[in-house]
Every structure is written in structure tokens, then in C-alpha cells.
Amino acid sequence: MTLALAVDIGLALLILAIAAWTIAVRDTFASVIGFVTYGLLLTLVWVRLALPDVALTEAAMGGGLTGILLIGAAAQLRRTEATVRTERLGILTRTLAAVLSVAVTLALSICVLNLPDPAPTLAPAAAANLDTTGVGNPVTAVLLAYRAMDTLLEAIVVLLALFGVWSLAHDRVWGGCPKLRTQADSEGILAYFARLLPPIGIIVGIYIFWIGADFPGGKFQGATILATMWLLVIGAGLAYLPPISRAWLRILLVAGPLVFMVIGFVGLVTAGAVFAYPDGYAKPLILAIEFALMPTLVLALALLVAGAPQRMPPQ
């Protein structure tokens, strides 16, 4: 048994332990803390699986936005804890659920152990056409050249989720501000932190975005970091979220997918297929899409965490 395998086994046991505890613990708040820790360990798993792009996404999502979202929700729902705890399923249902879960696990384990060898892979195909895209990172090439449609739909799904969240607002506050819980004291340590960190965080976010063309990184990871920084400034009470009726906000939200679609359909004329890029223009067009999607993603991800509008803007 090699050292690396020993590390992997330890990590797997660790993540299983924290997952089991997250599921089993009585208190919801404790469960959320467990889940945040679980996200961190998941990042280590991605690194051990040598998938740095995914690790970066998980680190950015799990470290920031997911934690803010779930911890905030758990804090608001704390009062319901006592009533919910009284509802427990009967022993029969729980046993059946356990049997079902074990069955699913066993079935999947058998599948894992019988995966075809050698594994099918699209890596050679992706590598063969990498030069035509002008992008150095094969994952970015897949996201924006070979399977650009997926990425467009993903951006639209994020937007749709945001519209879904917004649509939960009361009629009277429609178009108002989402109200993120903020620190009452805008001069405390948190405000200090929120003044110091975001400038550096923005540089890191843009750096991660920028190197995405050639190394692991990219717009999703960069946008997540930027969104988290924005939420920090708001959470520390140094700024307010804009009302969702603002024109600039809505234009920026729609601009990304729109530019993406326009470039996609222009490809129909210039290169003969939707999302085909004309020869020699692949890299500039990919960059244009990334730049247009960036503000959309930053705003959409941050506003998803902020939730439905809850009050009208102060006049």
C-alpha cells in the first residue's frame, strides 16, 4: 500500500464520517456547520482526484456562498426547531429508508467496481482540437467551444433560479431590495474586515477568471469569489443591495446570455453552425463571451444568496 493510497483512504473515511454526522445530528444548525466542513473536505477529494478546475469551483462555492446561504437560513429557522423535532418518522419508515439507502449504495458500488477498463475518454478528442480554439485549458475549451450550448443553458438556469427567488416576494415589495442580514454595527471588526479584504479578493477573483483560458480557473470560479466579496461588503453594513427594479441591474443580468446567444447565432452565418466560431476568431469570441457572462454571474449568484425582495428602497 502506497503512502498516497493511505492518504486517500484516510480522506475517504473522514468525509464519510462528517457526511454521516451531518445527516444524523439532531440540531439543524450543527448539521449546517457539518455540511460546510463537508464542502471543504470535498475540495480535498477533487484535488486528490487531480481535477483542479472542479476543486477550484468547489472551494469558491463551498467556502463562501453555500455557507452564507445555509447558515443564514438555519439562523432564521431556529425558532421552528422545537416544533419540527417532534415530528419523527416511525421506526418502520426509518428502517425502510435505511434498507433503500443501503440497496442504492450497494448497487452503485457494484457499478463502480465494474466500470469498463480501459475507461472511455474524450480527452484525446479534446486535445486534438485544442489548438483551433486558441485556449490552453481543455476544460475551458469544452465549456465555451465544444459544448458551448451547455454553458449558455447553465447561465440561463442560474438566471431562472434568480427569477424564481424574486417571484416569491410579496406584491407590495416587488421591485424592492432583498434584505440580507447585516451587522448592526458598521464600525466594528467585521466592517474593518470588509474594508480590507474585498480589494484583494477582487484581484484574486479577476486573476482566477483571467488564468482560466490557459490554466485551471475561469469565469464561474472568479464570479463566485467576486459575488462573495460583494456579499461581505453588504453583510458588514457598508453598502445596500440595489432594488431589483433597477435598469442597470436587469440589463447586466440579461447581457451575458444575450451576448452569448448573439455570438452563437452569428456563427450560423459566418461559420455555418450555431456556436461555431469562424477560423482565427475563436479566442477573441470566447473571451468576449466570458467578459459578458462575468457580471451576469456575479450579480446572479450574489442575489440568489440575498433572497427575495423584502422591503422597498428608502426614498
Binding site: Q183, A184, D185, E187, G188, I189, L190, Y192, F193, L196, L197, I200, V204
Partner: protein, 148 residues
């Protein structure tokens, strides 16, 4: 030279690992949240700091080296902020802290506040801190700006 740098790496990383050990032992063995917080911040600052220091000779100048130093600086900033915020939270809600420490004021944001009665005082020591709050926040007091 390479050999000397490798020796340096080994010693610094081992020292860092020792501080993680110490932090974990402290987190598990210390009796109340504030002392546990003390142990935690040592592991944060020194453990990660020494690991970063040890890895510096093994990385490429300049970008990776700068990133490593930045990681340590981020950890320091996070540790300092979290340390203060957690101390506030532990003081307000920590049963153990209340048991082990006498209440100096008993008034607003005092130590003796029993768990669950935090509704009336929700902000961290600012702007009307208990005596300990002043000590905790002394270093940042100079950064305060006049209220708008």
C-alpha cells in the same frame, strides 16, 4: 544550498505540523470556548504560517511564492477577524464561558448573561463595550471613523 533549503523545509513544516497538533489538543482539552479559541488561532497563524514558510524554498519565484505568502496573510486576517467575532459569540451564548468567568458588569453585553436572553443585545461589543470588549478591540480602535 539545495540541501540546506530542504533541511529548512523539513524543520519548518514539522514545526507547523506541531502547531496543528497543539491546536487540536487545545481544542479538545481546554475547558471553555475562549481558551479553545486561543488554541485555534495558534494553529491558524503559526501552523499554517510555518508550513507556508517551509514550502517557500520549494516553489517557483515569483508568482507561486507571492501566492503562498498571500495565503498566509489571508489566513492571518481571517484568524484575527474570526477570533474576535467568535469571542463575542462565545461570550454571549457560551454556557461554559458564563460558568467559568465572573460577571464584571452584569449590564449590557455582560458576561453573566444566561443563554437564550441575547435578544436585547445583539451587536458585538461596539459601541458600548464591557471592560473586556475594550481590551479585545483596542487594536482596531484607531481605525474607527466617526459615525455618518
Amino acid at each position: 544550498m539545495k540541501f540546506a533549503l530542504d533541511i529548512f523545509t523539513i524543520f519548518a513544516v514539522m514545526a507547523g505540523a506541531f502547531f496543528f497538533l497543539a491546536g487540536t489538543v487545545g481544542l479538545l482539552r481546554f475547558p471553555d470556548p475562549l481558551t479553545r479559541l486561543h488554541a485555534l488561532t495558534k494553529a491558524d497563524n503559526l501552523g499554517l504560517g510555518l508550513v507556508v514558510l517551509g514550502l517557500l524554498p520549494q516553489t517557483d519565484w515569483p508568482l507561486d511564492t507571492i501566492k503562498l505568502v498571500a495565503i498566509w496573510l489571508f489566513a492571518l486576517l481571517a484568524g484575527a477577524t474570526v477570533g474576535q467575532l467568535m469571542a463575542c459569540a462565545a461570550r454571549r451564548g457560551g454556557v461554559n464561558a458564563v460558568e467559568l468567568t465572573p460577571s464584571p458588569t452584569g449590564g449590557r453585553s455582560g458576561w453573566g448573561r444566561p443563554k437564550g436572553s441575547e435578544a436585547s443585545d445583539l451587536s458585538c461589543p461596539h459601541p458600548n463595550p464591557a471592560p473586556l470588549g475594550d481590551d479585545l478591540l483596542g487594536s482596531t480602535a484607531s481605525h474607527r471613523e466617526p459615525p455618518k
